[in-house]
Symmetry: C2
Amino acid sequence: MVSQVDRKLITRKALMDGALALVAEGSHYSSLSLREVAKRGGVVPNAFYRHFKDLDELGLALADEFGLLLRLIMRQARLQGLAADSMISDSVNFYVEYVQKEPALFRFMAQSITGGSPAMREAMRNELGHFANEMVTDLNRLGILPNISGTDMNMLGHLAIQTVFGNTTEILDLPENSANMIEAIRERCTKQVRLIFLGASDWDAKSEKQQKLDAKANRKKKKSKTE
Amino acid sequence: MVSQVDRKLITRKALMDGALALVAEGSHYSSLSLREVAKRGGVVPNAFYRHFKDLDELGLALADEFGLLLRLIMRQARLQGLAADSMISDSVNFYVEYVQKEPALFRFMAQSITGGSPAMREAMRNELGHFANEMVTDLNRLGILPNISGTDMNMLGHLAIQTVFGNTTEILDLPENSANMIEAIRERCTKQVRLIFLGASDWDAKSEKQQKLDAKANRKKKKSKTE
DNA sequence: ACAATGAGTGTACAACTGTACACACTAAGA
DNA sequence: TCTTAGTGTGTACAGTTGTACACTCATTGT
């Protein structure tokens, strides 16, 4: 005895979970069939149309769900109140933990950034971009790296999240019970992010000067090439 | 009047190019059908089996071709003899140029790292890893960053190439004739790599000490969590 | 209490899929 | 020169695909 709107929400969720399950089992989202997904959701193929017009539309709904997960992760991380001396390794650990906790959604995300429909790719890029922006906001609020300009801070944020997210597939591809491998990835990733922030702390007026010099040399070279 | 082995090689190439063409037009490799690929290669479906057992096998052949392209890029970059003062921006420009020159292969690569079969993913990771190793060898030969240990140098190489390759999909998704957007990506990517190397130049004994401190704090936190 | 809304079902069909089999035709080797 | 090997073709078939149409039946709002 469930209300009609609940029933609808339940089936909708079942379809989304069905698609995710298939992805988690190794299929690529863009090679799924509507019938497969419907069957996995415990529903007849035609019922699919009561919820989504397309598999593309379902994909965008999954992208939304992934965005929600990201927001949840951010909130959790903030609540935990990371200590300054271990902020980077804590964040990386946090991320790795969530990838293992929600492998299907992260696998889907990884697939979609490079392989989804154009709309899908944009949606995923937006989610990650939002995540990076939030991180930059936090860094500013905490007064970390105060000497860096706004655009450079943005660049830094994107670099950091791109680096962390770049390890996703590798984590997911590990066989189960290989905690030592996970540990290795975690350490390498922490090192990488730490190196990035070390670079950022030197990314001040001095390096700006160097940058301009380099840019000039670059333009010169380009010019001589076209001649 | 072509020899039999030539004919075979020609058709094989046609099949591979057909698959790449479909990928370049927006399909995901893992959603291609054998018949589609055969038609695009100008051959009847059954003829496919004379060259590949599977679409997977064709995919691995394409991964090989991508590896060849990477080696070509490396050789070209070395021949050009990059100047020390603009080495980073030159390398990035070089990469961006090749992505635009071979969009299909790079699109295929981007798709395959996160979305191919397990064998495919591993093949692509190996190709990129080899590329990173070559880069590290060059850095060592040129005496750049002599104070960094072997494993850290490896980490650095992987970070650098992951950063550059991370821009691939974004470049490929730009509409044609948007040179200014390309320029923006090129600049951002150059900045990122420069920041990474800036961080690496400080990645010495001093930062190693800081790293150990952080690791200790991390262990402490973990312990208290499990209690 | 009753009509209506709408989630889920069953049947149907044309298009497409991978692949098995028998065949043609041409280059290679005797 | 004649046989052989091997690339490419044509036909065939069973399974899967997306989706249209007509339907049941429970939950809703009156």
